[in-house]
């Protein structure tokens, strides 16, 4: 498949018109007859124990129909996020939910509920919790993560001996790995850069809050939710509702932004379902407010850490040592801290390396993966250190990245022996260098124009860009059309649509004759990984490809069976199966579909492959007999990690009198394998880069440490970048070299776009300041103003969740 008709070409994804005309229905837009409205009672305290809940007054109110407390919902072992909290561990944690005839009544009922809370010690800084005798954010412990059991860990006073001087304490890590000879690597280094650092946590602030509506009908729970993923969340939501997956109909046609926070199911999505159950199945709408979203809508983990990198004279990294303490929020969180090791290793290929880390609970919003979780903090931490080394070594900043970048022979993994499916970061850097005109631009570095000064910077970043082993279902029906059933979800990247073009490509379909079937589980969708982790383009092209190849093989065999000869005698042409040498022998796809129904067996899906997922099987069984079915599990070869890689180039003009700067030009260059959908890639590069600029300079979670209450709970306080903040010169490009282990050569790319942009901007700011590196993100206005005025900074080094 080299000369593509669809892959790599622009098209209009089918949901775009609904979105731009406002006809797209998100969870909150659904109405059902007799629908009740829900509101939640939230904890006003950062950490407390519920002693008693008195709902009697609320239940007496006219129009109050159902109230649920923690006793009414399934319980999971800590530190898994509870649905309703018996021990609220952050301000804004839901304790009780009410369904009433109107929102006004529900809200008044919430105010009438008496919850007796015993306030417990709280902590918003991981290092405060690790200090001897420091408070635990949860009664069961202070260290936990996915696959890191809940436990109590305190470091020693000796570990903190140099904390006041801004040096990161390096106590006992929860996990570690290393390879190579670290000491020898540092010994032979010409320059060693050693820094303590901090990266702030950031909210996801999805534009669509996680509102949901649910009702019960004939033993099934129908849930309208906002998730990035479709099939992947079905078993998770069912578990949180306490039902079997086949008792759930999950509808999620559109998602107004998730950025990782809606990749998996989350507790709020089942509140309406539980209330509805208590209200005898009446529909219940839970409309989630912006402030509720800031408390419950997830956030990126913050880091406090230390890193040491040794560089040879030519800039090659001889040794890299890193220690990360992750602010995990109060619950299970996500493994950002582990991704630091992976990202640093893939992007810099250190000759020797050690990673150490731990994840500490705090009474701040529950955290989850946010676009490049860990990888993008890594880019913002290490990329400035590369620039510092380049300055000391007198090496060009592009060159120091090129010399360390992986290529197809690159390695990964804790033993440094894992393979990469493809890596063209060197090409991305080279292409970016040319398009951005780095050789000329770097001469502008530090150039003054009155009180303004130019700064330029480069950033590179990584995220894994693909998975495997999931399923695909395609159908050709008697109407002759191709129905691509996709289970990936509709995050807003349009990759659900671009990956659906692969089966059309395989079968030679005219795109107008392709229907994408998606959006609700009773549309009979295949098992597919969630739309997260930059993996969809890679993973879903594979699943869709194998299903299409299965359909293709069945078409050829069906023609041979029907018209004589063998399958090899036939080919697909213009939506017909045609004999290669005798054109009189042909059957249209429409007729083939009818024939498949007649023949039954594998052709119509009455016989199914044994290795497909039970969810795929259930869907295929429901679809069997309707036409010609292609159904298969992806067993295509994959030699190792799929690296999505990006190089970003940024030029700013900074006003030395006010600290304000303007991004004059930005260029993002991706290594995403074959470009499947250029318009989609452009949108990803623009949107992801904007998120990166916010991560680098304006966004952060801030808490009053004494009160344990959040400062930034509205868009105007939390400050994500807006459309009007877009750089006037905003360019994008792709290496466009195929991945070796994807049938169309494609890889995902969504996440590292953000990290590269964030790092490039931070480096451009440091460049404009004449080499002033903060080792703290975001780099906010007051830090730049104080640096320019040569005044002390107000923040305390290493203090988390602060201004």
């Amino acid at each position: 498949m080299a000369d593509y008709k669809l892959v790599g070409k622009n098209f209009t994804p089918p949901d775009i018109i609904a979105k731009v005309t406002g006809t797209a229905k998100y969870s909150e837009d659904f109405q059902a007859e007799g629908m009740l409205h829900a509101k939640m009672a939230l904890s006003p305290m950062p950490h407390a124990r519920v002693r008693n809940i008195d709902t009697s007054a609320a239940l007496k109110m006219k129009g109050v129909v159902a109230i649920i407390t923690p006793d009414d919902v399934p319980q999971f072992p800590p530190p898994v996020d509870p649905i309703l909290y018996r021990e609220p561990v952050y301000a804004g944690a839901p304790i009780v939910a009410v369904a009433a005839e109107s929102e006004e009544i529900a809200a008044a009922a919430v105010e009438a509920i008496k919850i007796d809370l015993e306030q417990l010690d709280h902590v918003v800084d991981p290092l405060d919790s690790l200090y001897p005798g420091g408070p635990n954010a949860f009664s069961g412990g202070n260290v936990a993560n996915i696959k890191l059991p809940l436990q109590t860990v305190k470091w020693t006073a000796r570990d903190f001996a140099s904390y006041d001087e801004g040096k990161m304490p390096l106590g006992k890590p929860a996990e570690q790995w290393h390879y190579g000879d670290l000491d020898a690597g540092f010994a032979k280094a010409k320059v060693i850069i050693e820094r303590s650092f901090e990266t702030a946590g950031t909210s996801h602030h999805s534009m669509e809050t996680r509102s949901n509506m649910a009702y019960w009908q004939n033993g099934k729970c129908y849930v309208h939710g906002s998730t990035q993923s479709q099939s992947f969340v079905v078993p998770q939501i069912a578990r949180m509702l306490g039902i079997k997956p086949d008792e759930l109909v999950y509808i999620a046609e559109y998602c107004g932004g998730g950025f990782g926070s809606k990749g998996n199911a989350y507790p709020l999505v089942v509140i309406s379902g539980h209330l509805s159950k208590k209200a005898n199945g009446r529909p219940v709408m839970l409309r989630v407010s912006r402030e509720e979203e800031y408390a419950n809508g997830s956030g990126r983990a913050g880091f406090q850490g230390w890193a040491k990198i040794g560089f040879a004279e030519n800039g090659r990294i001889t040794a890299l040592d890193v220690f990360v303490v992750q602010d995990n929020g109060p619950n299970i969180g996500f493994w950002d801290f582990r991704n630091v090791g992976d990202a640093a290793q893939v992007v810099y290929q250190p000759e020797a390396m050690r990673w150490r880390g731990t994840a500490v609970l705090t009474n701040t919003p529950p955290r989850g993966p946010q676009r490049g979780p860990g990888e993008n903090q890594t880019a913002m931490t290490f990329e400035p250190m590369l620039d510092e080394a380049a300055r000391q070594l007198g090496i060009d900043r592009l060159e120091i990245r090129r010399i360390n970048a992986p290529d197809n022979d690159g390695f990964q993994g804790e033993d440094a022996k894992g393979q990469l499916t493809s890596a063209y970061l060197k090409d991305a850097l080279a292409k970016g260098g040319e398009l951005f005109n780095w050789e000329e631009k770097k001469k502008l570095s530090g150039q003054r124009n009155g009180h303004k000064v130019i700064g330029v910077g480069i950033g590179s970043a990584f995220h894994a860009g693909g998975s495997n082993g999931f399923d695909g279902i395609v159908r050709i029906l008697p109407d002759g059309k191709l129905y691509v059933h996709t289970g990936v979800g509709n995050l807003g990247t349009y990759s659900y649509a671009s990956t659906a073009r692969v089966p059309a490509e395989v079968l030679g379909y005219n795109w107008d004759n392709v229907v994408i079937v998606r959006g609700r589980s009773d549309n009979h969708l295949p098992w597919m990984i969630g739309q997260f982790g930059s993996n969809t383009t890679y993973t879903a092209t594979r699943g869709n490809y194998v299903a299409a190849v299965d359909a293709k093989n069945k078409l050829l065999q069906l023609a041979a069976t029907t018209l004589g000869g063998t399958a090899d005698d036939y080919e697909l042409k213009n939506e017909k199966v045609v004999h290669k040498t005798d054109a009189s022998k042909s059957i249209s796809f429409a007729d083939a579909a009818k024939k498949a129904i007649e023949l039954g067996g594998k052709y119509s899906g009455k016989e199914l492959p044994p290795d497909i997922n039970p969810l795929t099987k259930a869907s295929a069984v429901a679809l069997a007999g309707s036409g010609l079915l292609g159904v298969a599990k992806d067993k295509l070869p994959k030699r190792g990690l799929v690296p999505a890689l990006v190089a970003g180039f940024c030029m700013i003009e900074l006003d030395r009198e006010t600290g304000q700067f303007e991004i004059k030009e930005y260029l993002g260059v991706t290594d995403c394998g074959t470009v499947v959908h250029p318009d989609g890639l452009r949108a990803q590069i623009f949107g992801g880069s904007m998120m990166g600029f916010g991560l680098a300079t304006t966004e952060r979670i801030v808490y009053d440490h004494q009160l344990g209450l959040p400062a930034n709970v509205q868009f105007d306080q939390a400050k994500p970048q807006t459309y009007l903040d877009m750089p006037k010169v905003f360019n994008w490009a792709a290496v466009d070299r195929p991945d070796r282990d994807n049938p169309v050569g494609a890889k995902g790319i969504g996440e590292p776009i953000m990290g590269a942009a964030a790092a490039a901007l931070i480096n451009a700011i440091a460049d404009a300041l004449g080499g002033k590196y903060f080792h703290r993100t975001p780099v906010v206005r007051d830090m730049i103003v104080n640096a320019l005025a040569e005044r002390p900074q107000s923040y305390k080094p290493l203090q988390a969740n602060t201004m």
């Binding site: 919430v110 107000s794 201004m803």
Partner: protein
């Protein structure tokens, strides 16, 4: 239990005349809330923190809208939108300072609905106050921001008095710089107050940022002719370049004499105190002088004396010096 969503019910009045509005305000006094563009009002209501029994929606009062020339300058109806201030030809010709500041307010959508009266009367943005904590400004007896660990980056460096909140209005400093007169109606009649007296700090009233009482209606703003066509400067430093409140902003009007020296000036800073802070020392320093870089720097520095930074806002000291310096140096006709 905590819930910060769903607007509680209230009686809504939509008067069509100033007289009717004033009568309603007088009738309901302490229970009444005046709403213009609604950008801030609805947030307070939705958070269930401000719970008025009566809301008077002013947007139906046509007489409070628009810009007109008068014998002594212009009069801007309090309901004139920020966008209309930004685009008005008379303002752009004679009082461009107002248009420049208006262009920097919030976002295009908010400028289209937000009014100049609402902007100058806007409440404090202190996040502690906004989160519903029972602080001084909310009628309580403490300040949650001015504590050993208070997260007070946006707060006051001047004239704090128990409360450390600041004005973050972009139009307020322009009112001082243009010596605006605020026209206020109530049941007793009309009073016209100088902008400098209109804005009040916590020492005078810890619950309000202006002298407007519940029964008072800001009807119009008069800009005297005296400063028409002067050299102006407005600048706002923010975290995000668009749709953000000022960390510090500055508005200035300067007049030059025949010799090129500063004949007179009015300079005001926002974001440093509860009221826009008139820069009297800087004005004196440059009066009668020809402006050069060193004079501008001196003017800027002269305004930093007496600043008392809190935990996180020391950056406002060099920043305000820079902004006053730039206003003196870069004001344009």
């Amino acid at each position: 239990m905590m819930i910060k969503d769903v607007i509680p019910g209230f009686e809504l009045y939509r008067p069509a005349t100033i007289a009717d509005a004033v009568a309603l305000l007088d009738q309901h006094k302490a229970d009444v809330w005046k709403m213009a563009g609604g950008n801030d009002s609805l947030s307070w209501f939705k958070d269930r923190i401000k719970r008025p029994k009566v809301v008077v929606d002013l947007t139906g009062i046509a007489a409070m809208r628009g810009v007109k020339e008068t014998a002594d300058g212009i009069e801007i109806g309090a309901l004139t939108t920020i966008s209309d201030v930004e685009k008005n030809p008379i303002i752009n010709k004679n009082y461009k300072l107002l248009a420049e500041a208006a262009a920097k307010v919030a976002s295009p959508q908010i400028r289209n609905t937000g009014t100049i009266g609402g902007n100058v009367s806007q409440d404090a943005r202190c996040w502690y106050y906004r989160s519903g904590l029972p602080c001084y400004r909310a009628g309580g007896n403490t300040c949650f921001s001015d504590t050993p660990e208070g997260e007070n980056r946006e707060h006051a460096i001047f004239d704090a008095n128990r409360c450390v909140a600041v004005t973050q209005s972009d139009m307020a400093p322009t009112m001082i710089a243009l010596d605006a007169k605020m026209v206020i109606h109530n049941a007793k009649g009309e009073r016209v107050v100088n902008a400098e007296d209109f804005f009040v700090g916590p020492k005078i009233d810890i619950r309000r940022l202006t002298q407007l009482q519940p029964e008072d209606l800001l009807v119009a703003i008069r800009i005297p002719k005296e400063w028409a066509g002067a050299r102006f400067y407005f600048e706002k430093v923010t975290d995000r370049l668009t749709w953000d409140f000022a960390l510090v902003n500055v508005a200035a009007a300067l007049k030059t004499d025949a010799n090129g020296a500063v004949a007179n000036s009015r300079i005001a800073l926002g974001g440093v105190a509860a009221t826009p802070r008139r820069c009297g020392v800087a004005e004196q320093t440059i009066k009668g002088q020809k402006v050069d870089q060193s004079l501008a720097e001196l003017a800027g520095k002269s305004e930093t004396r007496g600043a008392h930074p809190l935990n996180y806002n020391a950056f406002k000291v060099p920043l305000l010096a820079s902004l006053v310096m730039r206003a003196v140096r870069d004001a344009q006709a």
